[in-house]
Amino acid sequence: MSLKVDYKQKTALMFHMPAIVLLTLITMVPLIYNIRISFYDFSLTRAGSRDIFVGLENYKMILSDHEFWNSMWVTAKFVITSTFIQLVLGVVIALMLNYYSGALNRLLASLIMIPMMVAPLVVGLMYSFILNPQFGLYSFLVDLFHLNLSKTPLSAGGSALLVLILTDIWEWTPFMALMILAALKAAPIEPYEAALIDGANRSQIFFRITIPLIRPVIAASIILRGVEACKVFDKAFILTGGGPGNSTEVIDLFTYREAFVNYNFSYAAALCVVLFIIMLIFGILYWNFIIRKQSND
């Protein structure tokens, strides 16, 4: 090992140092502290409970808590449905956008991206405007077309979850569309030329050439959107508050409620550890299938 290599190592470490120090302080320390709390019985409603060690008791409680399983199920329904619909719509919009080039393309893309720039909290509020039974656009349209629909979709469990999914689709389909558009633009032209010479038709070109070319980006987008969808909080908080009943109580909302409404701090900390492990699995998947593949190219 030469001296020069050693010097490079030291320089690299110096460049990384500020990030390592700060991230250790504001992410690593809290996460470890969180794990510690999860082994105690800390609750604001019981004095002195911060020092009662209970071991894995909180984790056992989670496994037998049907409200936890309910919110896991609600989150799963939410994540799978909204990510899937976003993907399908995103591909369609991307293909249409790709049809136009130059200034027109940029203008259309700018308009398309408005929803994902709006703060999620404001998206939730917008939909409570639309769905307001007194003056909302929704009830106006229901009346106008004499539709056989409930005027207050947020008051029934199934339709409230559908509304929540709809808001997520509205907000994040543009993301899928723009990701896929970028992939389409970066795709090489040679396979298309060859296919045209061989007399392939449109659907053959789409399924045999376009889809395989953009598959890596589709995979990356699905994981990224899936992870973000798992973290949904703001929209559910403002739009449904988890209700009616607990039909829209997504996992982050459930954890928040345990921590800051019921003040079961240790229980919530254990929930956070469980959430963290789930996200870690997503992270490892992403690392193995997306990032490692990239660096191999």
């Binding site: 190592q9 990030a19 996460l31 502290y33 049809y99 993301f175 990701m179 558009l181 987008s221």
Partner: protein, 274 residues
């Protein structure tokens, strides 16, 4: 192109624009409500033509003191962006230029902070900040928002630094420039537009964030999204004023977003696509 093909192209374009317009109605609805009086906002069928009023803005920002929350949002976003860039840029540069033992682990850790749910960090930070008497302080929320943004800066800026040819660094090194010199004098100026785009993303991330700010800030330091649900009171919801605050939250972001539109996907997918 034949006449028929051109006609089809035009028709599809019109349908597409119409679709985008309908898609954006919820947002237009919000903006227009902010300029309506209470009676106009509640009228059915919806009033499309009305005399715009600034009353909602005056009420909420001056009478209800939301200008203070606006200022808080600006302060937090400014410092979060500064800290994240100061800490994130050198690290991004090192990832782009050096191979260090263990830098794969560090890179994975950064990905991890991106994937970590906000609530998972907010809960322990709440206890730690409470012990350090940092709840309801600017320092607390700024550090907390930086936690997510540093990873973001590193991911996004590594991509920009990678596009600068290594030969430029090397010739500077041959001329006797240190690594720090080539970072400050060569890499940063050459990646200036990337840094601008990244900072706008940091501002937007912090500006739009709700949950962490909701938990860690208090009356004195509440940002705009945190103060917003306060307009839904048991006595009634001030829809016009909510719309006014919602517009003020979103319009600057949209202006910024249009400026960096070219880098939008790159930022959103930081670390996903090269």
């Amino acid at each position: 192109m034949t006449k028929k093909a051109l006609a089809i192209r035009r028709t599809v374009l019109i349908i597409f624009i119409l679709f985008i317009f309908i898609y954006l109605i919820p947002y237009f609805w919000l903006i227009s409500t902010s300029f309506k009086t209470r009676v106009e906002a509640f009228s059915i069928p919806p009033k499309l033509i009305f005399k715009p009023t600034m009353e909602n803005y005056r009420m909420v920002f001056i009478e209800k003191n939301f200008n203070k929350n606006l200022l808080n949002s600006i302060i937090v976003a400014f410092f979060v962006t500064s800290i994240s860039l100061t800490v994130g840029l050198p690290s991004a540069y090192a990832f782009s230029r050096f191979c260090m033992k263990g830098d794969k682990i560090l890179f994975f850790y950064l990905l991890g902070t991106r994937f970590t749910p906000v609530i998972v960090l907010s809960l322990p930070l709440y206890f730690i900040m409470a012990d350090l008497k940092l709840l309801n302080s600017f320092l607390g929320i700024i550090l907390a928002h930086s936690a997510f943004n540093i990873a973001f800066v590193v991911w996004m800026m590594k991509g920009f630094f990678d596009t600068i040819p290594k030969e430029i660094d090397e010739s500077a090194r041959v001329d006797g420039c240190s690594w720090f010199g080539s970072f400050f004098r060569i890499a940063i100026p050459l990646a200036a537009h990337g840094i601008a785009a990244t900072s706008i993303f940091c501002v937007i991330n912090s500006w739009n964030e709700f949950l962490m700010a909701f938990i860690l800030t208090g009356y004195k330091t509440a940002t705009l999204p945190v103060a917003l649900p306060g307009l839904m009171t048991p006595q009634g919801t001030f829809w016009g004023q909510i719309a006014a605050v919602g517009s003020v939250i979103t319009i600057p972001v949209l202006i910024f977003a249009f400026i960096v539109q070219k880098y939008m996907v790159q930022g959103m997918s930081a670390g996903a696509i090269k």
